[in-house]
Amino acid sequence: MIDRVVAKADLIRSIDSLADKRTVAAPVANGPQFSFRTITAAEEIAEGYLPTALPPNKYLLPPRETLLRFAWHEELTVDPVIEATDTIAFGVRPCDLHALELLDRIFVDDKHDGHYRARRERMLLVGVECLEPCDDHCFCESMGTLRAESGFDVLLTDLEDTYYVRVGSPEGKEFILGIDGVREAAYEDRTLLRKAHERRDAAFTPRLDVTFEQLPGLLAESSDSLLWDVLGEKCLSCGACTNVCPTCYCFDVRDDVNLDMKSGERFRTWDSCQLEEFAMVGTGESFRQPREMRVKHRFNRKGRYIFERYGLHGCVGCGRCARSCIVDIDPIEVFNQLKGQPVER
C-alpha cells in the first residue's frame, strides 16, 4: 500500500473531530505514569510517554467482563453478552503491536473467542514508532520488537512537523485518506524516514546478552538454577508483573447469582500464574505452590513456552513488569544472570 504523509496539525484536527463520534483511546499522563484512556480532544494525549500502566489489551480483553446472563423462571435462558464499540487505539507502541499479534493468534485464530473477536473487529490500531528508548527497563531491541512490520492499521513515524504513515489494512487506508491534507509520500519523505530510522538504530542497543531466539534454550537449561530460589524469596506474589504484561492473557471464569436466586451472570476476570490459587485444583492441591516455581513459570512463559508454541514473542521487552515490581525483579537482570553474567545490583 502507498505510504502517506500527514501534517501533525491536520492529524490533531482529525482526532478532535473523530473523538466526537467514536471512542478514541490514547495514552494520557497520570502522575509519573501513563494510561490508555478515552479522550475527547487530541491535546489530552501525552507526549513522550512510557509504556502505559496497563497495555491496550484492556480494550480487547477487559479485566472484568460479563460473558453471559442466565435466568431460570419457567425454563433456563442463557443470553451471551458481547459488548463492542468502534474504537480507535491511538499511539500504540511497536512492542504492544507485537503483543496484540499474539493475542489475535490465540483469541481469534486459535480459540475463536467471540467476545474478543467482536471488539477486535471494531478496533483500529494506530501505531506510533519509537525513535528513542523509553528508559533502563525497556529491551525491545533485544527481543526484536522495536520494529513493527505488521499488526497495525496505520503506523506513524514522527518527522517533527509531519508524520510518515505506513498503511497496514484497508481500514487504515480509509482512516488516513479521511484526513484533510494527507498526501502521498515523496522521495524526500522517504529520505527523512530513513534518517529517522538510522538515528533510532543508533539509539537502541541490545540489553540482553542473548538473542530472543536463544532464550528458549537458555531457559530449558536453567531449570535447576539457584536464581529461581533467590527470586522466590524476594517475590511478593502481588501479581503486578502479569497484570501489566501485554502478552499475559490468562483469565478465570466465575458465576454470580442475584438475590432473586433465579438469575445471575457468568463473568471472567484476569488471572495470574503468580497467585497461589492459579494452579489449585478442586481438592485443594496447588501444582505450583512454592513461590519460586511460580516465578520460574512466568519467565518460561515469557521467554520459552509461548515462543515454542506459537513462534511469536511471549515477551516484547516493554519493561512494564520491571517498572511495576516493588522488589525490583527485572527480566533484563534475570535473563542476563541466567546467561552467567551477573548484573550489578
Binding site: N30, G31, P32, Q33, S35, T52, A53, L54, P63, W72, L76, E233, K234, C235, L236, S237, C238, G239, A240, N243, V244, R254, D256, V257, N258, L259, D260, M261, K262, G264, W270, S272, L275, E276, E277, R291, S324, I326, V327
Partner: protein, 262 residues
Amino acid sequence: MTEPIRSPERPRVALFELASCAGCQLQILNCEDELVDLLQLVEFVYFKEAMTETSDHYDLALIEGSVTRESDEEKLRHIREKAALVVTLGSCAYPVGVPGLKNAHDPDEVGSLVYGEDAGFFPTIEAKPVDAVIPVDLHILGCPIHKDDFMRVLTALLIGKHPPVPTHAVCVECRLKENVCAFDRGLVCLGPITRAGCGALCPSYGSRCFGCRGLCDDPNVASMEVLLEEKGKTAEEIMAEYGLYNGYYARRDGGLKAKVAR
C-alpha cells in the same frame, strides 16, 4: 443443570456485636435497594441496630467486633453451640482492627484513660479476634465490610457454593485500576500482603493500604519486612504499621511471619 436454583427455607440469622463501632451493621442496613429481596431469603431474629425482638434460635450467626471482656468469650462459646455457621463481619472481628490498638499499652493505663476512677467496674482483657476464641467458618472482611461483599457471600452460602473470597493481595486490584503505586509516591503500603476484595479502595483515593482485611492467603511477609526496612522503617515502626489492624497476630510469638508459616 437439571434443578432450578431454589431458595431453601428461610434460614434464621442473628447478628451479635462485640467491641466495635457498629459500622458493619450499618453497612447491612445501607443495602436499601436489596433489603426487601434479602428478607425473602433469610429471617433476622436478632439485630440490635435494626429491631427490638430477640431470639436464641438461629442457624447463621454474624459477629461484629473484637473480644475485649471475659464475658465476650462465654457469649461466643454459647453462639458457637447454637449456630450451624459462624461468620464474622469486619476488621474488629478479624484480624482484630482498631480495638487491638490497646494491646500495645498497659491495660491499667488504658482502663483509667477511658473510664477514669470507675475503671475498676469495667475489667477488660487483651483485644482478640473472634477466631482466637471459637472456630469461625468465614470472615467477611473490611473496615467496614462492603455491602456487595456481604450480599455475594450470603447468596453463595444459601446456594451452598464456596463463597467468593479473594485469596490474593490488594496489589492485584490496585494495578488493574492503574493507580500510581504508593511506594512510587513515597509512601509505604501494606497492599502486597493484605487480602484483596476492597477494590484497592484506599490507594485509589490517594492513600495507601493499612491492612484492614488482614493477611492474604500467601503473603511473603519476610520479603515485605525487608522492603519496609529498605524504606527506612525501624522494627518498631513496622510493628506500628501492622498494629492498626493486625496488632493481635503481629504481637504473637514470631509475629505475622509465624501467622503464615505452613
